[in-house]
């Protein structure tokens, strides 16, 4: 029982106590749930995540099982053994598609993790410090916006691949894929930095931040405890969009033959089977469809999140 000292508060409190009004996240979820596209996106993303986690259990073959080649069953059309057929290297297409999901997610999440850290740090400093620092950092971000990212990544991946030969770096597993992830992250941060800057700029004059300064809160706590959590909703939308974009970029790098030969990725599948498009289209169409579903999922999810967190922005 609450026994307030000031009697007026009783009436006030008794109204609010029984029904707990929804919080920011919960309100967002209510709005999100009503967005059919967003829910579809969430479903697709959940499907991809599930496949990535469960692929060792549900995949019919081992990912590097080329035995079909020996049986002369490469490039075989879909049948009951190979539900999506086999490709020109004798791999089971379905197995490779399922395993590709984890690579795709690793790329998307990894790249956006790197991009978010860089973006939030740069954008946060720019927005909070303001003045000349802000100006310089934002000009710096602008340089990164006009660099033809994809083209540069191709070159760097290729050149880096030569330089590491014979060094300790070579022992890192999936080095090539790591390089792609880090590079994508290093180039995709400017949009996040811009958003982070705008949010930090808006929030640094918020009354609750001034209240925190008033009681003597340290600058680090102001930034991490008061400003950053309130900037997250806007940033999450960009991250969701970016994951789809990063996955697509990795696919394209691999499709052009600069991917990680050791990784099982959809882009690699496309790369190895594109020449056999005419005879074995299923080996190209299946990974292509997988990319489509994943990117669509993240795009729809981002769309739904925009609606949920910034309801005024749309329609």
């Amino acid at each position: 029982m609450d026994t307030p000292i000031v009697p007026e508060a009783v009436a006030e409190a008794s109204i609010a106590v029984p029904l707990r009004p929804p919080g920011l996240w919960r309100q967002g979820w209510y709005r999100f749930r009503r967005n059919r596209g967003g829910m579809l996106g969430l479903g697709l993303v959940a499907l991809v995540v599930l496949v990535a986690l469960l692929c060792p259990f549900v995949a019919p073959f081992a990912p590097n099982d080329q035995s079909a080649m020996l049986r002369g069953a490469a490039r075989k059309a879909p049948d009951w053994v190979h539900l999506l057929g086999t490709d020109r290297n004798g791999y089971d297409v379905l197995t490779r598609v399922l395993y590709g999901a984890s690579t795709a997610l690793a790329v998307g999440l990894g790249a956006m993790a790197v991009a978010s850290v860089i973006g939030v740090i740069i954008g946060g400093i720019a927005g909070y410090a303001g003045g000349l620092t802000d100006e310089l950092l934002m000009r710096f971000a602008e340089f990164f916006m006009v660099i033809p990212v994809f083209v540069v990544i191709l070159a760097v991946v290729r050149l880096f691949g030569i330089v590491v030969v014979g060094t300790w770096l070579e022992s890192i597993p999936n080095l090539n894929l790591m390089t792609i992830i880090v590079l994508l992250g290093c180039f995709e941060w400017p949009p996040i930095a811009r958003m982070a800057r705008a949010e930090f700029l808006r929030l640094k004059h918020a009354e609750f931040v001034e209240a925190a300064i008033c009681i003597g809160t340290k600058k680090r706590d102001i930034l991490l405890r008061h400003i950053l959590p309130n900037a997250l909703p806007s940033l999450i939308v960009l991250v969701a969009l970016g994951i789809g974009g990063a996955i697509l970029a990795e696919t394209m790098v691999s499709f052009l033959g600069f991917g990680d030969p050791k990784a099982v990725s959809w882009g690699q599948q496309l790369h190895f089977n594109y020449e056999a498009l005419k005879v074995a289209p299923w080996a190209v169409l299946s990974p292509g469809a997988a990319i489509f579903v994943t990117v669509l999922g993240f795009n729809l999810l981002a769309d739904g999140l925009t609606d949920a967190f910034n309801p005024r922005l749309r329609r």
Partner: protein, 335 residues
Amino acid sequence: MTPLLDVADLAVHFPVFRGPLRRKAGTVRAVDGVSLQVFRGETLALVGESGCGKSTLARAVLRLQEPSAGQLRFEGQDLLRLDRRAMKAARRRMRMVFQDPHASLNPRLRAGEIVGEAFDIHGCTRRERDAGVAELLTLVGLGPEHAARFPHEFSGGQRQRIGIARALALHPSLVVCDEPVSALDVSVQAQIVNLLMELQERLGLSYLFISHDLHLVEFIADRVAVMYLGRIVETAPIQSLYAAPLHPYTQALLAASPSIDPDRRHQHVVPDGEVPSPLSPPSGCAFHPRCPFAIANCRAEMPPLLTLAPGHDVRCWRAGEWAAAPQRAAIPVGS
């Protein structure tokens, strides 16, 4: 008696930049040479129209905004000379209650975390903090069980109670209240004002109470300072200000605020025109373009702050006339 807070000639100027090269185009003198004192246990109300600089002054007092010039003494210490450590210690003793209870509470923190933050910062143990939070929440009329809730689960009035509890953590001596009730429903305003007055009595607090509502001020304040365009134009004990306002601006403010007192009702002296831009304030007395009693001298020279009665200071060339004939002070009817 030395004042708890002694503000002397405080100025806050904002440079205004224009154009692509960010050339300095002028200066907004938001606060321009303000002196005031808050004594222990009293409430000084700072009154003025929006944009007169009263909120900037409040923020400068708490060093949320660095003053451009002037002196700021709090509990005998020169606030503007303190290093970070001493400033942090001083922040234990002075606090602020903000205007908008929806914006002043971090939506991501629970009420207990908001109120308890000061305890964490100033090195209290977890147990001390939890006990302190419970005590403070009870003190402001909520209960310890509210500590686990988020701001959105409270009504506006309850949120302002949390804001007050936060301000009272670790026993401050001065609380700056920046229009603490103007964002609340009228029915809740009285509750919060009562709470503030009750707390003052119980804890021996001093308030610098900022408001535009003269009726509220009459209810809560011991002394009033009226501000116009960055300057104090009149300071007076509450009775003498309401009985015999000496500055035409104060008179106009009193006349403009709706009153149920039939004797006051006809005397509408709504100042003509807009508040001038603080970027280019009028020459002389800043109020002269809107003042019905302006004389030539008002345009030429800024009047000094004259003490016409004990504790009653006015910045007006003709204040002597009003003081001599208090009856005709507020009769600009029909002008």
